[in-house]
Symmetry: none
Subunit: 195 residues, 4 copies
């Protein structure tokens, strides 16, 4: 039995780690509480001490992934030493660097509408997607205004294009994608003109 606060925190994190891996690879309803606690070397009771129910575990896992993804995006866009081109490159490589998180969120996003009790989570996932899109749009407009980059279409449309590419990369998140970083960056250069 774990008694101190740190040990309890550690238990909780073990649960989240196992839950994240299993939810990612097997999906929500194919992953049982027993699967999770066995993977973490704990008992069902421990899970119910730290979380109200299975939904809460899932929500915690997905929210953590969403936050991690958000943070990484912010870091890429606010890195002052980066040129605009490098910033876009950093964005495009996000799904590759955080493949687990992207796999989890995407694998689950399309099924969320069928779980009414997870509707709040669904909204958060949507928010994050919109936030990502908005960040890109702002970045592009700012870049254009400052004369740092140009593109053939208006910012709105180009944002969508970039986002489309972005989502295409999601699919490879489970396995190593069949595309190199160089290829991707070349592609960026076709769409955008960096000055």
């Amino acid at each position: 039995m774990k008694r101190t606060k740190e040990e309890a925190q550690q238990t909780k994190e073990q649960l989240l780690t196992s839950a994240k891996r299993l939810f990612t690879t097997k999906g929500f309803s194919a992953t049982s509480i027993t699967d999770i606690v066995q993977d973490a070397g704990l008992t069902r009771g421990a899970a119910y001490w730290h979380f109200k129910n299975k939904d809460e575990i899932f929500i915690a896992v997905v929210e953590q992934a969403l936050n991690d993804m958000m943070e990484e995006k912010e870091r890429a866009l606010s890195e002052t030493s980066f040129t605009p081109r490098e910033k876009l490159q950093a964005m495009l490589s996000l799904p590759l660097r955080m493949s687990t998180e992207y796999a989890l969120v995407n694998g689950v996003a399309s099924l969320l509408p069928t779980y009414p009790q997870l509707s709040e989570l669904e909204k958060k996932v949507q928010d994050r997607k919109n936030n990502l899109k908005e960040s890109i749009r702002l970045f592009l407009e700012e870049g254009k205004r400052q004369g740092a980059l140009s593109f053939k279409e208006d910012p709105e449309t180009t944002t969508k294009m970039f986002f489309l590419l972005f989502e295409g990369l999601y699919f490879h998140s489970q396995e190593q994608p069949d595309i190199s970083n160089e290829d991707l960056f070349h592609f960026l250069d076709i769409i955008f003109c960096f000055h």
Copy 2:
């Protein structure tokens, strides 16, 4: 009770229709046989008369979707009255026109490795993806050799880019995507030069 052969066939198709919708919206393991037969207005026994088990229902549903997707692709590429530009446009609009099928196959593809009994189906999904990629590559090479279209990168790389766009479109297949056909086709024109 349905007794004649046609009625039996109709029963089977009702099952497949309900199964397709439920597997698409809820996923494999969250969809129960009871869900399917209730949706179809039948009994569990009927499902087990027409299919060996749940796996077989799922396999039948996915294979049908794969075949429909394949057929549509072939039709787009072999339409003789189309220019190369129109052929690529027809390809890009596939995920939008067949959103249900794409949603089903993609929603499920990433979880397939965890169901050993569905490994054959997994292989078929992979085959179909490779077949799609190969079709595009051949089309591009042929187009280049005949001088009908050109592109800045080599065919191999351009194929991957096009495929990436394609996969990006998958994600929107559940809901209406936030992108218009015109936008998409403009994008095509940026990547390729049609003569």
Copy 3:
């Protein structure tokens, strides 16, 4: 489809043959109608044409076995060319010669009381056992009166002993028993004195 009477009769016998083997080796409730008809190369419908339900198939199979056992016993006891010793020997070798029938009846007899719908069959099995015992008793008394055989105990007790041996042989009916006919007959000679 079988049309003539003989073909129908043949179908019925195929069902009984398969049913007998399966009920013997797997028991009543572990044998399904499907098992039987598949073994016989027929369909469930055929079984329900010839028999009202599963119970009736079982009853038919057991009654046939009971009749065959009874007949063989009568033949052994009424064979005029046999000496009393040979008659007892023929009796003792019955379970060995009709191992299938004995296995079926014994394997099932002990469980019959728990199937209320088979109570009539249970009575028949009991009757047959009592009939066997009574036949032996009569035979022994007759033999004693005619001075053809004698034994150390009274006929009643000796009958029971003989019957006990007899039942002991039942157990081997599935596999070849670990005892030779010579051994058995020696044993008979110890219990009885033949003149």
Copy 4:
């Protein structure tokens, strides 16, 4: 709800008691988990907490019966105050004293080969039978060498005869057998000569 360890142990034993009775009277496949837990006044979940599956319940029940039978045999043969005649008598009365256990093991033994997953249990039943036979043979040889008993046939054959009688008694284990101890013991005296 039972919570303490002793209460849990009690629950398990209630399950085993009910299972033993039902498996004995109805057989393996005609006894459902629901039958067992209802008889024990519990729920299906409780059964699955204490046992992995139905097979494991059955195995536990039969192994317990086998052990009890073995113990009783050892006790009869190792009782130093018994004369050889009394030891054989004690052996012969085993199936009568432990009728439930014998009914269970015998009722089930003949069907075991058809349950592949119970092959280990089958082996144990066979081992126990062989062990019983071997114990008797050793006992007879020792008795003969020490001059405490003699018999008309060689030890091997006499062992088989005794065992045959023994198995004959099995059949009566469900109902009170139609034979008295005195009759049996007389019979023993006919086969063996005690000094």
